[in-house]
Symmetry: C2
Subunit: 234 residues, 2 copies
């Protein structure tokens, strides 16, 4: 290998490292958004909710910058095989993180409305669901940083826990809304908070699938091993 | 240009054409899923709902196949400039279409539950919102096929119409739920049907942005020209 080639290979591997580091930074922002949004809902903290709403622009901006970086990298370096897979993976993961940020923002926006009515007794259940989903997100982002597929597959396998939490919570909120008309408005927003958490869990699962694909070159085959998705609660 | 080069260029442009045609076919499937899901909700048609739920696997499969095609194309053809943009665009659009299919499936799953209770008087409002969103989706898919950015930008500019429909519908459903506890259960599912439609509208808007980027090389700058997103209804 001559010096010019060595230089090119070194520059390319530096770029791939930078890409992966940037994705991790963006992941940290998304994680932080989810944690803060949940804190805002639980502590009825309007100021924190506004911070989450404002901070989402930073996540969106990072996605655009990383996408540009990826397109430049594809054009100039023309990566092959596992390098190409990891570049495409980064593109997919930042899309999941951008949506995660949006969903955190949506939770924060609902906080604005929720704090105008009396607190609902369901907060602990929402809090537990939030912690579960945050745990999944954290675990897949760790797996991305370390290339550890086992824990990514673990998240993928445990997505049904999130669905079960969601369905139980849905039933409880509906029951309270039926009992007391004054709960209907805030209850509806709480249903959407729970739905947003469930979607964030889905994005964590998507990221787990992408990591598995990058590391192994294979898809996690077929549907998740959870059997049919649980029926919607009535 | 020698014969081998001519052959390579021809093969490459054939591949790009096939890619774009496949994306359009997938778009047709997604459009069809949304239309059928809405028909199932409106006509309380359980059989059609099941068909939509089943047919979603085909949309998911197309996404996986198109992604493989794209990765092969990036590895073997190493496209540059506008070709690279259009390949990345296809990758993003199929992600939006896959989610659109999921959202249609979710509407169909809610139909299962909705037909167990009395019909809500809000069906016409949901139907109108459905038609609006279907129109947007159709228009961006047309724009993709023709490379016509003007109509894509039109959809992007009119996304706020969808949001307004959604907010009005949200308020009406909540009012009915407060009046009559027996409406709470089905009403909550109807809220999610409306939310799913709003999200499908967002995906149409995303696709419009991607088309604009492919054709012009520029992003549709900044936030949508609709001012701040309307406040959530209480």
């Amino acid at each position: 290998m001559n010096d010019l080639m060595k230089h090119t290979v070194k520059a390319f591997s530096d770029e791939l490292e930078k890409l992966s580091a940037d994705v991790s930074v963006m992941g940290g922002l998304a994680e932080n958004a989810v944690a803060s949004a949940m804190q805002a809902v639980i502590n009825r903290d309007a100021e924190l909710a506004e911070q989450v709403i404002e901070a989402d622009a930073e996540i969106d901006k990072m996605q655009r910058e990383i996408e540009k970086q990826i397109i430049r990298l594809l054009a100039l370096r023309q990566p092959m095989a596992s390098d190409l897979r990891s570049v495409i993976a980064a593109l997919k993961i930042v899309a999941d993180l951008e949506r995660t940020g949006d969903l955190a923002k949506s939770i924060a926006r609902r906080t604005r409305v929720l704090i105008k009515s009396d607190p609902l007794p369901l907060t602990p259940a929402v809090e537990r669901m939030g912690l579960l989903v945050q745990g999944h997100l954290h675990q897949v982002l760790d797996a991305y940083a370390t290339g550890e597929t086992a824990s990514a597959v673990g998240v993928w396998e445990r997505d049904e826990d999130v669905d079960e939490h969601y369905n139980a919570l849905f039933r409880d909120v509906i029951a309270q809304m039926m009992e007391d008309p004054s709960v209907v408005g805030p209850g509806a927003h709480l249903l959407f908070v729970a739905k947003n958490l469930e979607r964030i869990g889905d994005h964590a699962t998507n990221i787990a699938e992408v990591i598995h694909y990058v590391v192994t070159g294979n898809e996690l085959k077929g549907e998740r091993p959870r059997g049919p998705r649980p029926e919607l609660p009535e």
